[in-house]
Amino acid sequence: MEGGVHDTGGRPTTEPIDRTEHELAEWELLTDALVGALSRTGVMNVDELRRGIESMPPDEYRSASYYERWLYSAETILTEKGVLEPGELEARL
């Protein structure tokens, strides 16, 4: 039952399900909408989004929040496609 870190079905775990909920933060709504906009404009499709998420190093995947994974994927795929230059985002921070 090996497979990517994202391939979680049936993996043994004793971790209880944390039912705490949180309202989406502004940056999370923004990330969602950015990915949606990229999909609408044909720059990055949902399969590429998923592929990008699945490419995260396993430890990062596990500790990242849902939208942190989306953001990681968008940055990765956009850099791969040359839409973003390597380091360009960092320079903006």
Binding site: M1, E2, G3, D7, G9, G10, N45, D47, E48, R50, R51, E54, K81
Partner: protein, 82 residues
Amino acid sequence: MSFEPGQRVRVSAREHRGHHRTPGYLKGRVGTVERCQGSFTNPETRAYGDSGLPKQALYLVRFENGHPVSADIYEHWLEEAE
């Protein structure tokens, strides 16, 4: 090939290193086709910038795990089972 509701099918256990939507826990398992869900672009190629065409048939397949689990599996991951 295409499958009919009620038909027994086996999910391929082949290794696939790139993006794909067949979960590991179902690879190699035998299940029963519930229905054909229609045809959809192939996520395995679309994930790498391809159009994902031609569309692939998608089947809802039911497996027994002590309890039933159904999943949507692409035709090219399924073969007839006894």
